[in-house]
C-alpha cells in the first residue's frame, strides 16, 4: 500500500468531516460563549436570607434615619428610613455610599503604629493591648511631668456621650483643651452671646417649616446646610407654597437654581447688603419695636456707612431693589427669615456677616418668632457624677486656643488658632493630641501651616475609622468601628426645629479588628487607674449608654431616635452694634485680579468624611476631571484671562499655585472663580486619593476680630492659561 501526503490529507479531511458530525465543535462553541457569561474573575454575589435593620447615619451632621438591607451578614444597601422625622425615607448620595465606607479600602483594619514619616501613611500593625499601653505611657509621662494640661482633644462635635467621654477624660486629667471643629452654628452661638448677652451653651434652631419668606446670604440651603434632607424637604414645601426664596450669591448654586430668586451681589458684600436692608427697614420705619439697646447708635451707623445708596453701589444692586426687598422682608405677614453661614455651613464664617444678618432678623422681629430663627438652650441631658467638680478644677486653666477668655469670650473652642500658635512659637503647646471624628489637617484653612504645626505636636492619637489627612499625621491609630458597627448616641443640631437624638446600632458585626471609640476611651481611663479610672465607673460603653440615657436607652434601641421639645431662651435685652467689625471678607493679595470662592457642591463632601466611590462617581466633570479640580468662571472672565473651556490653567493665590481645569459657565458672576470643596484629599482610598486640590491649601485664614473664628470666605487669585 502506497501512502503519501495525499493519504494524510484524506485522513485529515475525513477527521474534519467526522468532527462536524459530532457534538464537539458545537458544544465547544456553545461552552465558549457560556464561559464568557461566567468569567471567573467576576465576583458572584452570594444569595441568602434578606433582612432589614434600622439605624442612623452619622456621615454628616444631618441626622437621617437609615435602614440597611442585609443578605446573610453582608450589608448590601443603605436606604432612607421612611418613619424617621428628618428624612422620611429619602436619602442622599453620601448616605447611600455608606456601605463603601464600611467595606472600603480606606478603613483602618487594626490598631497601627506609625512607621514612616508623618504624612506618609506608613504603618505597622499592633495589637490592642500594645496600643492601649502606649497611650497609657504617653499620658502618664505628661502627668508625671506635670504637663497633663497639654493634653488636647479634637472631635467633630461636642454632643453625645462619646465627645463627652473625651471631655471627661481630659478634665479628670486636668486639661481644659477639648476642641471641636467650628461650624456656622458656633457663629450663631457667638452672635447670641454678642447681641443678646446670653451665656453658656445656646443652640440655633430654624422654624423653616413655617417660614413664609426665605432670604439666604450664600447659605447652601439644599446643598447640605444644616440637615440636608430636612432642608430639601423644607425647600420643597416652600416651592409648593410659593414661598419666595431669595438667594444672595455670586453663582447659580443648586440652591440658587432651585430658588429661582438669585440676587447676585459683589463678592464679600453680603454683610453690607444685610446692613443696607436694615437701613431701609429703619428708614422706612418698618422695624418691630422691642427691647433694644443701642438702637440709635446702630441707626446712626447705618445712616453714616450703610445707607441704601452706599450699599447699592457696593453690592452692585439697585437701590430700589434693596428697598423693595426690605419692605417685603419686614412685612410681618411674610413670616420671613434671613439665614447665613456659607455653603454647607461647615465653616464658621465672618461675624460681621452673622451680626448683620442677625440684626436684620431682629429688626424684622424674626428672632424667636414662628417661622423665624430661635435661640434655644443646648441639651444638658447627659450628666455624670463629678461633672461639676471636674469643670471647676479646670476652669481656672487657660486653654491653648484661649477660647472663652480675654478677647475670645464668644467662642467655646478655637481650633483655627492652634496651627498659627504652634508655628509662631516654633514649638507645640500641645503635648498629646487625641483626634476623633474630625479631620483638621484637611478642613482648616492654610493647610501648609496646619501641616507644619501638626508635625510639631509630639504625639497624636487618632481614633479614626478611615485613613484621612489628619490620621496620616498620627503616631498611633486606635481604629473606631464604622457607624454601622457600633452603638452611639448622636444628638442632632443642624438647626432642626426640634431637638433630636439618634442612635446608631451595630447592624453589622465588626468587619475588621476595630473597637467602639467609647470603649476605647473607657479602657484608656481604666488603665490609668486611680481617680481617672473612678471617673469612668462603667463596665463598657454600652453600659455607659444604658446608664446615661436611662429611660431613653430602650426607646432609642427600639425606635432609633427620640424627639424632644425645646423652649426658646428668653432673649432679654438686644444689643445692636454701634460699630461693625471691619474684617475683609476676602483674604489675600489685592493685586490679584480675581476672587476665588469655594463652592460647596451637592455631590462633594468637604468635611471630615470623604466621598466614597458612588458619591465620587456622580461628581460632575465640571468639578473634577481626571485628577484635576475644575474651576468655574464666566465666559467674560474666560475671555479676559485668556482661558478656554475644558483646558488647563494655573490658579494662584498668595499661598499656592496649582494646575486646574477650567469650566466656562453662564451661571457665575464675572471676576469670580468658584472652586469645589472636598477634593485634594490624601490618604483616602484609591478612588479619591490625590484628585484635585484642597481649597484650604489656597485660602489664607483670616482670624475674626470679634469671635476668633476663621472668617475667610474667599481669597484673591489669578487664573492663567497653563
Amino acid at each position: 500500500m502506497k501512502i503519501d501526503r495525499r493519504s494524510f490529507l484524506a485522513l485529515g479531511l475525513g477527521a474534519a468531516a467526522g468532527t462536524a458530525f459530532t457534538p464537539l465543535p458545537w458544544k465547544l462553541t456553545d461552552d465558549a460563549s457560556i464561559w464568557t457569561q461566567n468569567w471567573r474573575w467576576l465576583p458572584l454575589p452570594e444569595d441568602g436570607d434578606v433582612t432589614y435593620e434600622t439605624t442612623a447615619c452619622t456621615l454628616c451632621p444631618g441626622g437621617c434615619g437609615i435602614r440597611v438591607r442585609k443578605v446573610k451578614d453582608r450589608i448590601v444597601k443603605i436606604e432612607g428610613l421612611p418613619e424617621h422625622p428628618v428624612n422620611q425615607g429619602g436619602i442622599c448620595a453620601l448616605g447611600i455610599s455608606g456601605t463603601q465606607i464600611l467595606y472600603g479600602g480606606s478603613r483602618v483594619t487594626s490598631p497601627m503604629r506609625r512607621s514612616g514619616d508623618r504624612g506618609k501613611n506608613e504603618w505597622t500593625r499592633i495589637t490592642w493591648d500594645e496600643a492601649l499601653a502606649e497611650v497609657k505611657a504617653q499620658i502618664n509621662a505628661l502627668v508625671d511631668a506635670d504637663k497633663a494640661d497639654t493634653i488636647a482633644c479634637i472631635t467633630g462635635s461636642d454632643r453625645g456621650t462619646v465627645p463627652l467621654l473625651f471631655k471627661r477624660l481630659l478634665a479628670v486629667l486636668g486639661s481644659p483643651n477639648f476642641m471641636t471643629t467650628a461650624t456656622m452654628e458656633d457663629s450663631y452661638r457667638a452672635v447670641f452671646r454678642k447681641m443678646h448677652g446670653l451665656k453658656g451653651p445656646v443652640d440655633v434652631r430654624f422654624d423653616f417649616e413655617n417660614t413664609g419668606f426665605v432670604l439666604s446670604f450664600g447659605s447652601g440651603l439644599i446643598e447640605g446646610w444644616g440637615s440636608p434632607l430636612r432642608m430639601i424637604r423644607a425647600a420643597n414645601v416652600w416651592k409648593a407654597n410659593k414661598t419666595p426664596m431669595i438667594q444672595v450669591e455670586q453663582r447659580l448654586s443648586n440652591t440658587a437654581a432651585f430658588s429661582g430668586g438669585l440676587l447676585a451681589v459683589n463678592p464679600g458684600t453680603e454683610a453690607d447688603l444685610a446692613l443696607g436692608l436694615c437701613h431701609a427697614i429703619i428708614s422706612g420705619n418698618l422695624h418691630q419695636a422691642g427691647s433694644v439697646s443701642g438702637f440709635a447708635e446702630f441707626a446712626n451707623l447705618l445712616k453714616q456707612k450703610y445707607s441704601v445708596d452706599t450699599v447699592a453701589t457696593k453690592t452692585g444692586l439697585k437701590a430700589t431693589a434693596i428697598v423693595d426687598l426690605a419692605r417685603k422682608f419686614a412685612n410681618p405677614a411674610s413670616r420671613s427669615v434671613a439665614v447665613c453661614g456659607r455653603g454647607k455651613g461647615t465653616t464658621a464664617g465672618s461675624m460681621r456677616e452673622f451680626m448683620a444678618v442677625h440684626a436684620l432678623n431682629i429688626l424684622a422681629g424674626r428672632v424667636n418668632a414662628p417661622g423665624g430663627v430661635f435661640a434655644v438652650p443646648a441639651p444638658d441631658d447627659i450628666a455624670w457624677a463629678g461633672d461639676t467638680v471636674m469643670t471647676s478644677a479646670i476652669s481656672g486653666k487657660t486653654r491653648i486656643d484661649e477660647a472663652g477668655t480675654g478677647a475670645y469670650t464668644l467662642a467655646d473652642s478655637l481650633l483655627n488658632r492652634i496651627p498659627s500658635g504652634i508655628v509662631e512659637k516654633g514649638e507645640s503647646s500641645i503635648g498629646l493630641l487625641f483626634v476623633s471624628e474630625a479631620n483638621p489637617v484637611y478642613t482648616l484653612s492654610g493647610t501648609k501651616n496646619v501641616r507644619k504645626a501638626f508635625k510639631k505636636i509630639p504625639y497624636i492619637v487618632s481614633f479614626a475609622t478611615c485613613l484621612d489627612d489628619t490620621t496620616a499625621y498620627a503616631d498611633l491609630i486606635l481604629p473606631n468601628h464604622s457607624y454601622l458597627e457600633r452603638y452611639q448616641d448622636v444628638p442632632v443640631r443642624a438647626g432642626l426645629s426640634k431637638p433630636l437624638v439618634n442612635l446608631t446600632k451595630p447592624v453589622s458585626a465588626p468587619v475588621y479588628d476595630t473597637q467602639n471609640v467609647g470603649d476605647t476611651v473607657i479602657s484608656i481611663a481604666k488603665s490609668l487607674e486611680g481617680s481617672v479610672a473612678e471617673a469612668f465607673p462603667w463596665e463598657n460603653y454600652e453600659d455607659c449608654l444604658a446608664k446615661t440615657l436611662g429611660g431613653r436607652w430602650e426607646t432609642l434601641k427600639e425606635k432609633g431616635f427620640v424627639e424632644g421639645e425645646a423652649n426658646p431662651v428668653a432673649l432679654g435685652n438686644v444689643i445692636l452694634p454701634s460699630e461693625m467689625p471691619d474684617i475683609p471678607a476676602i483674604s489675600g493679595d489685592g493685586n490679584l485680579p480675581l476672587i476665588l470662592l469655594p463652592k460647596d457642591s451637592m455631590r462633594l463632601w468637604g468635611d471630615a468624611v470623604a466621598d466614597p466611590p458612588f458619591a465620587l462617581k456622580i461628581v460632575p466633570d465640571t468639578e473634577l476631571k481626571g485628577t484635576e479640580t475644575v474651576v468655574e468662571v464666566s465666559p467674560k472672565t474666560a475671555v479676559a484671562q485668556g482661558l478656554e473651556d475644558g483646558k488647563e490653567a494655573v490658579l494662584t493665590t498668595t499661598l499656592k499655585s496649582v494646575t486646574v481645569k477650567v469650566a466656562v459657565s453662564d451661571g457665575i458672576m464675572d471676576g469670580v472663580v468658584a472652586i469645589p470643596r472636598g477634593l485634594g484629599r490624601s490618604s483616602a482610598e484609591k478612588y479619591l486619593d490625590d484628585k484635585g486640590v484642597n481649597v484650604c491649601e489656597l485660602m489664607e485664614p483670616q482670624e475674626d476680630k470679634v469671635s476668633g473664628f476663621d472668617a475667610v470666605i474667599g481669597t484673591r487669585a489669578s487664573l492663567k492659561r497653563a
Partner: protein
C-alpha cells in the same frame, strides 16, 4: 396542572419626574448604582464611559448671568413603547441577537446581558444616551464585593446595559404575591430604587394605565411633557416643569415652532 393561558391586559409601568422638585443632588444615581451592582472605576470623570443608568443632566436657559436659570433633569431609560406601544422602541428593533425586547406585560424594555455580544447598535439607536457599554470589566476591590446584591447579576465587559426600572423588585414583589396567592401588586409594592431614595420626592412611579396609581393622573398635568416626543419613541417617563424653557428643552423645535408641536402625521417607519 393549571395552565397560565389567561392573558390579562398588560401593565404600563412608568415614571413622572417633577423637575420643579429636583434639586440635582444625585441621590437617584447613587441609589441606582447601589441597587443594581453598578461598579465604579478609579476614574469616573470621563462621563462618556461612566455607567449611570439614571443620569442627572444640567439644563440651562442659556441666558447670561444673572438671568441664567438651571434645571436638573434625571434621565433613566425611557422604556419607549414606540408608536401605539407596540414595542417598536428604537433600541429593541435593532438588536441583532434579540438580547433586548419589549415586555408587553409591564411595558419595560428588558434585556439579557449574557446574550448581548456588544455591537452597540442599540446605543446608536437610543437618542437618550440611556444605554451604556461596559468598556471595562467591573471591579470591586477588597471587601467592596460584600456590597453586591444577589438580585442583579454583575455585567461583564463588552456588553451594553441600562436602567431596568429595577425589574428585580417587580420580580420579588410578584414572588411575594404568588406565595400569598395574588397575581396583582399594590402601587407601593413595586417601586424603583431612585423613586425611594429621592429626598425631594420628585419621582413618582407606577402603572401609567392604572387610574388608581398616582402617575396616571400626574402625566395628564398641563405642564407634563416627555423627552423627544416628536421622534415618536413614546417614552414612559414624563416630566413636569412649570418653566416653559424647560419644557421646550425637552424636544427639538424649528425656530418659529411653538413648544409642544407634534410630529407631522406621516406614517412612521415600522
Amino acid at each position: 396542572m393549571k395552565k397560565e393561558t389567561e392573558h390579562k391586559p398588560g401593565k404600563k409601568y412608568g415614571m413622572v419626574i417633577d423637575l420643579d422638585k429636583c434639586t440635582g443632588c444625585g441621590s437617584c444615581m447613587a441609589a441606582c448604582m447601589a441597587e443594581n451592582n453598578v461598579p465604579c472605576k478609579d476614574d469616573e470623570s470621563n462621563k462618556l464611559s461612566s455607567i449611570t443608568w439614571i443620569r442627572v443632566y444640567r439644563l440651562t436657559n442659556r441666558k447670561p448671568f444673572p438671568e441664567t436659570e438651571i434645571c436638573y433633569l434625571p434621565r433613566p431609560c425611557m422604556h419607549c413603547g414606540g408608536v401605539g406601544d407596540q414595542g417598536h422602541s428604537p433600541c429593541v428593533s435593532v438588536c441583532p441577537a434579540t438580547a433586548t425586547d419589549y415586555d408587553h406585560g409591564t411595558g419595560i424594555v428588558s434585556q439579557i446581558y449574557t446574550r448581548c455580544f456588544g455591537c452597540r447598535y442599540c446605543m446608536a439607536a437610543c437618542p437618550y444616551h440611556a444605554r451604556y457599554f461596559n468598556w471595562w470589566d467591573p471591579v470591586w476591590p477588597g471587601d467592596l464585593k460584600k456590597t453586591l446584591s444577589p438580585n442583579v447579576s454583575p455585567r461583564m465587559r463588552g456588553v451594553v446595559e441600562k436602567c431596568s426600572f429595577c425589574f428585580h423588585r417587580y420580580q420579588l414583589a410578584m414572588e411575594k404575591a404568588y406565595v400569598e396567592g395574588r397575581r396583582d401588586l399594590e402601587e407601593g409594592e413595586y417601586q424603583t430604587a431612585c423613586t425611594q431614595a429621592c429626598p425631594s420626592g420628585a419621582i413618582t412611579f407606577g402603572d401609567l394605565d392604572n387610574p388608581d396609581h398616582a402617575v396616571a393622573k400626574m402625566k395628564e398635568h398641563p405642564n407634563a411633557f416627555r423627552l423627544l416626543e416628536r421622534l415618536q419613541t413614546n417614552p414612559k417617563v414624563y416630566y413636569i416643569s412649570s418653566r416653559e424653557w424647560v419644557r421646550r428643552a425637552g424636544d427639538n423645535y424649528l425656530k418659529n415652532e411653538p413648544t409642544n408641536s407634534k410630529p407631522r402625521a406621516a406614517a412612521h417607519h415600522g
